[in-house]
Symmetry: C2
Subunit: 361 residues, 2 copies
């Protein structure tokens, strides 16, 4: 077994578990033949399913767990009773270096709590964040935090920017990603004090990113920047608003195209073009959010994802593991810390100079 | 002059002033023949324009002002020097009962500051909010606050809910509008303390609305509720994200439909259906945000609105003025206050009972 490409899966998470988890793993395995899986969950349900996927069956190990974390379990409950659940065990496999990443669907709060507890936060990161790719008219952008932290301070936002830039360099392949903070206006005088302070800190930071200041909600769809930084409350609402709007327009478009014989004919002629647009906007094709800032890779799939969607989340795990996301973040954090210390020294020097001037006058 | 249908206009606000303001007023006048206008701004620019609109010319008065508030002026600057500007004077006309509503485009922060200073906040409202209609797949919903208050407490959110419900009853014609607070999840345990407390207060309130608890970003496009309540930061970002997403999809759709001869033929057949969808999503057709909670009606138009868009904002002003929005809010606030006082009395009664029990035991 190549250590790098072993992925642990919580077979019991998500709306259609364990079916879509197993089928998704099978699709991912077809794409990346060197993949191996550790599958955690109820073996009486998993083993019969595997008979339908003989190739997958030969490259996975099933570990039975009795406990399953339900969709409505509170994070605190999950922490108390969840360590030997399928969710806890699949994360533990990453901690124990048996898997290079865990992919889980379902209860986000419980996942976050367990992942944080088992893997601990990276040095230099106060709070992990949930990051994902979002579709834009230019391609894709990275957005974070998508809901791990309802309230954030300026240090959190700066750390999110560093982690988001590392994500973009890893997955989008941009050498110096453009980064901006989501705000109600692009002028520096707008927004909360937290946002203004994070903006100031990022302007002065020495990190491989092209910091652009603020971006507005309008800029998300246009792909104005590679990385959009925001707190988990706003990020969650912006992401879901974008998804909801896309769905609304798709419904309205369908209704419009079915309203007359002429438009039905039109839809028929344009069907292949409409299908490719549908694919670009399908959340399943952008599935796989990353809990950034932990000592180990944990990827969250949409609870309602299809098998194809779950396979996309496994794809994100493979990308992250192969391209050393954690290494990038650690190096950028160190650089950032050094900048701050230099600035502090500069400021200290200036203070000394000022004191000397005062003494002389 | 019928007092009710005089509208004051800041002719100098917005990206294409005064042209689109004058043309927009002319379109609105065609729709509502009883409309009259008081137009404030640079008469050397306004008067020549009016020669192109003889009917409008006969139902408006032009008041010259030298000062204009620029798009990047800070609210504090606008307050210091803006009272005799075209913006300040058009709001003053509402204060002086010369107009039943003011319609302004451009600098939102300056408008808010001047409107609040000149008209003052209604009794029972701590902070005014910006409310508007948003397109959904069911029709339209009301959303507030869209950016007047970057940070809000629970009392602000409750007051926004009361004002938003009055807006929906006035403009959407719903007797008992459904209302929800925007949150990162629909479970009561999610979100900030402010949101949870506002949720609790609204559950207990006695107001003509059907309070539904929390709604997520996904629900906006689907028109899950008639009124979506949120703080100004989140609301501004959600609104602009929805608009940006709609624009992105329109661009992608256009590109898809132009990519092959077949799809071009399809687009031709479906053109009338696609046009009606475009109209439904065009922000110009939902233009006209209301500064709610002031002693007087002030309607804000998008700075980049077309003449048709500006006419839509005037249409909102007419709706609000004719349907006694202010009266509805005042009555609901009084009812809400009574509920709270009753609850306080009930709690006081319970305390007395408890004390009696303790004394007896």
């Amino acid at each position: 077994m190549t250590r790098e490409l072993v992925i642990s899966l919580d077979a019991m998470g998500g709306d259609h578990a364990p079916e879509i988890v197993i089928e998704g793993a099978s699709i991912a395995r077809e794409r990346v033949p060197s993949l191996k899986f550790l599958i955690f969950g109820d073996e009486t349900k998993i083993v019969p399913l595997l008979t339908r996927f003989p190739i997958l069956k030969n490259c996975c190990e099933v570990f039975h767990t009795d406990k399953v974390i339900s969709a409505d379990e509170r994070p605190s409950q999950a922490l108390r009773r969840g360590r030997d659940s399928s969710m806890g065990q699949s994360i533990q496999a990453v901690k124990d270096d048996k898997a290079c990443a865990a992919v889980l669907a379902g209860n986000t709060g419980a996942q976050m709590a367990l992942a944080k507890f088992i893997l601990r936060t990276m040095e230099g990161i106060d709070r992990p964040a949930l990051a994902s790719l979002i579709p834009t008219s230019r391609g894709e952008s990275v957005m974070l935090d998508l809901g791990a932290n309802v309230e954030c301070d300026e240090n959190n936002l700066v750390q999110f920017a560093i982690m988001g830039a590392a994500f973009a360099r890893t997955v989008l392949g941009v050498v110096k990603p453009t980064v901006a903070i989501l705000n109600v206006g692009v002028e520096e005088l707008k927004g909360s004090d937290v946002i203004k302070e994070a903006d100031r800190m990022l302007r002065e930071a020495n990190i491989p990113m092209d910091y652009k200041g603020f971006t507005e909600g309008h800029g998300l769809g246009g792909g104005e920047v590679d990385v959009v930084v925001t707190d988990g409350f706003t990020g969650n609402i912006a992401l879901k608003t974008a998804e909801g709007t896309a769905k609304m327009i798709a419904n309205l478009l369908k209704r419009s195209l079915m309203e007359s014989i002429l438009s039905k004919i039109g839809a028929l002629f344009a069907s292949s073009s409409l299908q490719s647009l549908k694919n670009h906007l399908d959340p399943n094709n952008h599935n796989g959010a990353v809990f950034m800032g932990l000592n180990g890779l944990v990827i969250k799939s949409h609870g309602g994802a299809s098998a194809k969607g779950f396979a996309a989340a496994i794809g994100v795990a493979v990308d992250m593991a192969e391209n050393d996301l954690a290494g990038k973040i650690t190096r950028d954090l160190t650089n950032f810390k050094n900048t701050i210390e230099e600035t502090d020294e500069d400021e200290a020097d200036e203070t000394v100079i000022e004191m000397n001037i005062k003494e002389q006058t």
